[in-house]
């Protein structure tokens, strides 16, 4: 997006017509080919009157444990309060393409060497100017083993001792091993840049807490109830944000959020329960935003404990779920079926090249018989961390009966489930949209923080990991895709994940608000209107 585009879109907000804009563009020396302006200008034409100002109210499901941190999240409420006030070096746009944010330059000079330069003149909420020291501090804080921040694992390759500061705005990173995924890691929403000295020992409290560079700054925060964020008058993207204030309000359940939306007490909510979607759609003053994402809620079998240490049992279980039924009934059709491979938007995704697994209780029965596991009884643990977990688990439990498997379903409260998380032999989990190598680093590698299936205990794991290393060092994309496909084949044949499908995000908002776009990313509501800066009242 060019500055000219932004300038023109602002003129439209002031009430200029297309003719006026053409004249204005000519005066500014902008060549308009075929009367087509930049995307912002066209968007401004489309909605003609953007109303500046106002208070935007966002509902979240949170609790007393809510916190605000630029580099860490636990619950969805923490995500919303992260994106409203913090920004990273780069971000994913709606189509999943990496765009620069605070960085002016962010590139791999080699597979083990990166150059970072930040933009000039960006200010933190406390008035301090952003420099490369803040970026280096942010990387060090993320990598602090005591803090265990969310993005910790993805920065594993950065060698802290060899970060070289070149000037006030530039540094060079040297990696201890090749890693072509680092740019992606920097674009994750939880890799916010924080000022030097920012809460070094805790993600709950500490000096400079809540200070970021984002479009809104924290005015007040009452954990478990709400936070109020006011417009950052010195925000660096010209013209943004539009609202004067954003209130992020906690609700105890999805039902309460819907009631608030229907009664006009909030402007937007994430995750409208499927049963309520027709009700919201039926209101002329409300809108539903459906985003087909790469989010998934797998059932995870531990490859190192009985009965799942027998690959025949794993294969049988992957045949014991009626995938179209889960999408239709569990998600009310808001999704599409999967083939036990994650990262559907990765250019190297091969899930649609392998034969699609279908519900086949007969074959499952015979596989179980071969494995000597007829009349098997297993326990399946799940919780309502995310839509799709309990739904998938429940339908699996019904489907599995036809294959002679008796499933004891245990649906637990979040903390109780978490108490045995990653230890359950068979359980549900949830993931967002990520490309394959980063997802592998988060969920299946030996060093992965969320290795649900204990894939590193699988007999062919060494080969899997060496393929991973090889892919990380392969800059050429076609070659890398070949290696990644080989990794996917191993997971498709022998893995412990049952990936029955990918979900759409279904969010609701008031027709008084505009600017949301359909987004492939992990976060709801077009990344909450890109931290509430690209949405506005009309």
């Amino acid at each position: 997006m060019t500055t000219a585009d932004e300038a023109l879109s602002r003129e439209i907000e002031r009430g200029m017509t297309r003719q006026d804009i053409l004249r204005r563009a000519a005066a500014l020396g902008i060549v308009v080919a075929g009367g087509t302006f930049g995307p912002l200008t066209e968007a401004a034409f489309a909605s003609t009157k953007i109303k500046r100002g106002g208070t935007f109210r966002q509902a979240v499901f949170g609790g007393a444990g809510d916190f605000i941190d630029g580099q860490h999240i636990v619950a969805k409420s923490d995500i919303v309060r992260n994106v409203v006030g913090f920004e990273g070096l780069a971000y994913f746009d709606e189509k999943g393409v990496i765009k620069l944010s605070l960085a002016e330059e962010l590139k791999a000079e080699k597979a083990n060497q990166y150059l970072i330069r930040v933009r000039d003149g960006i200010e933190f909420h406390n008035g301090k100017t952003l420099t490369i020291d803040d970026v280096i501090y942010s990387i060090k804080r993320t990598k602090n083993p005591k803090l265990k921040l969310f993005g910790n694992a993805a920065f594993g390759a950065i060698d802290l001792k060899r970060i070289k500061k070149l000037d006030k705005r530039t540094c060079r990173l040297f990696l201890s091993r090749n890693d072509v995924t680092l740019k992606e890691a920097f674009a994750q929403y939880y890799q916010g840049v924080v000022p030097v000295g920012y809460a070094p020992n805790s993600f709950i409290k500490g000096p400079l807490k809540h200070i970021g560079t984002g479009p809104f700054k924290v005015k007040s925060f009452t954990p478990g109830r709400e936070s109020v964020h006011e417009k950052n008058e010195n925000y660096w993207r010209s013209g943004q944000p539009y609202f004067d204030q954003v209130r992020i309000i906690n609700f105890p359940s999805d039902a309460a959020k819907v009631n608030a939306l229907l009664a006009g007490q909030i402007e937007a909510m994430s995750d409208v329960p499927f049963a309520q979607v027709p009700v919201v759609k039926g209101r002329s003053n409300l809108r539903i935003l459906v985003s087909p994402t790469g989010a998934w809620t797998p059932l995870c079998m531990r490859v190192d404990v009985a009965p799942f240490n027998d690959v025949r049992v794993r294969r049988a279980f992957r045949l014991l779920i009626n995938r179209p039924q889960v999408v239709q009934q569990g998600l009310s059709g808001a999704g599409r079926i999967g083939n036990d491979i994650y990262s559907p938007f990765d250019p190297a995704y091969a899930g649609d090249e392998f034969p699609q697994r279908a519900y086949d209780p007969e074959q499952a029965r015979s596989l179980l018989k071969q494995a000597g596991q007829e009349g098997l009884t297993v326990e399946l643990a799940s919780t309502a961390w995310d839509t799709g977990m309990n739904e998938g688990a429940t339908i699996f439990a019904q489907n599995a009966k036809a294959g002679g498997v008796n499933v004891n379903l245990r649906i637990l409260d979040g903390t109780a489930f978490n108490d045995q998380y990653l230890k359950w032999p068979f359980s549900a989990d949830y993931w967002g949209t990520r490309n394959y190598l980063l997802q592998a680093a988060s969920g299946v590698l030996k060093t992965a923080p969320f290795n649900e299936t204990h894939w590193d205990q699988y007999s062919g794991y060494n080969r899997f990991e060496s393929l991973y290393r090889q892919a990380l060092g392969t800059v050429e994309e076609k070659k890398r895709a070949q290696i990644i496909k080989e990794m996917q084949r191993m997971e498709y044949n022998d893995g412990g994940l049952i990936i029955w499908g990918f979900k759409n995000l279904t969010d609701g908002y008031s027709a008084k608000v505009s600017g949301y776009k359909v987004d492939r990313g992990t976060l709801n509501l077009n990344k909450y209107g890109n931290g509430f800066r690209t949405i506005y009242f009309v």
Partner: protein
């Protein structure tokens, strides 16, 4: 009388202490702890151990209980485990909200219940009595969340959109600033309490209306209204006081459900939230508070019963 109150207060303290033991044991039995809930999915054994040590969760159950109870005895309720704010600070704002909701509900439901009961007794077996009887029985059978959700569907979201379906309030602003948001939560609590009060009031008034002294009053030629309100009702109040006190105490628990349905930011909602995040100091404080309310209300009801019952009054003197 003073001796009686002191004795009851001491007994009340013992009750509270036992309650604290039960609550503590129950919370220990829940799987997962505050460290788990704070660290969420990304918890590692090391980070859990470090946080547990920081929060004092690694100490023995007895030490934890002792530290907590000795704090309470010296007026220190401790701090929330999950956001480290002092419990008193977390509670104070919420307490105002809950008490206001309860008082409002009590101020409407008690007189309404007494009136409905007495009036039904007076017109026994009339259409009014029958209607009241069926209505109160029906409503008494409905759990609060059903009443709450029904009211929301009818008055806030699906049928009419007259009233807000949930409370959206600002911290530090008193509940009286949101009169419209109070209507539905108060209505649910009133509907929960009135049937019991009305039915017990009706039963005791009917009994009194058949007694000799009422017969005597009627024979004296007093108008029926005066017989009812001056002679019968005061004598029928004693059992009603008991039931009302129990119901008010019940309100203290009932608000948990009502607050969760309406997102009303009182102690009930906080309790649900704190149990979910295993925030034990807050759970304990709220449980003790509700238990204390039970004790005090029961005591008040007994005192009131004694005051309106001459026989009991004189026996104590």
């Amino acid at each position: 009388m003073t001796g009686f109150i002191i004795r009851r207060l001491l007994l009340g303290l013992v009750t509270l202490w036992i309650t604290s033991l039960i609550i503590f044991a129950a919370t220990q039995a829940l799987p997962g702890d505050a460290a788990r809930s704070i660290l969420g999915r990304s918890a590692t054994p090391e980070s859990l151990a470090a946080l547990r040590q920081q929060l004092g969760l690694d100490k023995s159950v007895f030490t934890q209980y002792w530290e907590w109870i000795s704090g309470v005895l010296t007026g220190d309720m401790g701090a929330s485990l999950v956001n480290s704010l002092p419990v008193t600070e977390v509670l104070s704002d919420r307490l105002v909200y809950s008490l206001f909701l309860m008082l409002l509900a009590a101020a409407i439901s008690v007189p309404l219940g007494i009136y409905l009961g007495a009036a039904s007794a007076r017109r026994r077996d009339s259409a009014f009595d029958q209607t009241t009887s069926v209505a109160t029985l029906g409503l008494a059978a409905l759990p609060e969340f059903v009443v709450g959700i029904t009211l929301v569907v009818v008055f806030a979201t699906n049928v009419f959109t007259w009233l807000p379906g949930v409370a959206v309030t600002e911290p530090g602003v008193g509940p009286w600033h949101y009169p419209k948001q109070l209507i539905l939560p108060v209505a649910v609590l009133v509907i929960a309490v009135v049937p019991y009060t009305a039915r017990i009031m009706r039963a005791s008034t009917v009994e009194i209306l058949e007694s000799d002294f009422v017969e005597m009053a009627r024979l004296k030629g007093l108008p029926e209204q005066r017989v009812l309100w001056r002679h019968a009702v005061p004598n029928a109040l004693a059992p009603t006081f008991q039931v009302t006190a129990l119901n008010l105490a019940y309100l203290a628990g009932g608000i948990v459900v009502v607050e969760a349905v309406f997102n009303y930011p009182g102690v009930g909602l906080l309790l649900v939230d704190s149990v979910r995040s295993r925030d034990m100091p807050v759970v304990q404080a709220i449980a003790l508070l509700i238990a204390a309310l039970y004790v005090v209300l029961n005591l008040l009801a007994d005192v009131a019963t004694i005051l309106v019952s001459p026989r009991l009054r004189t026996s104590l003197e």
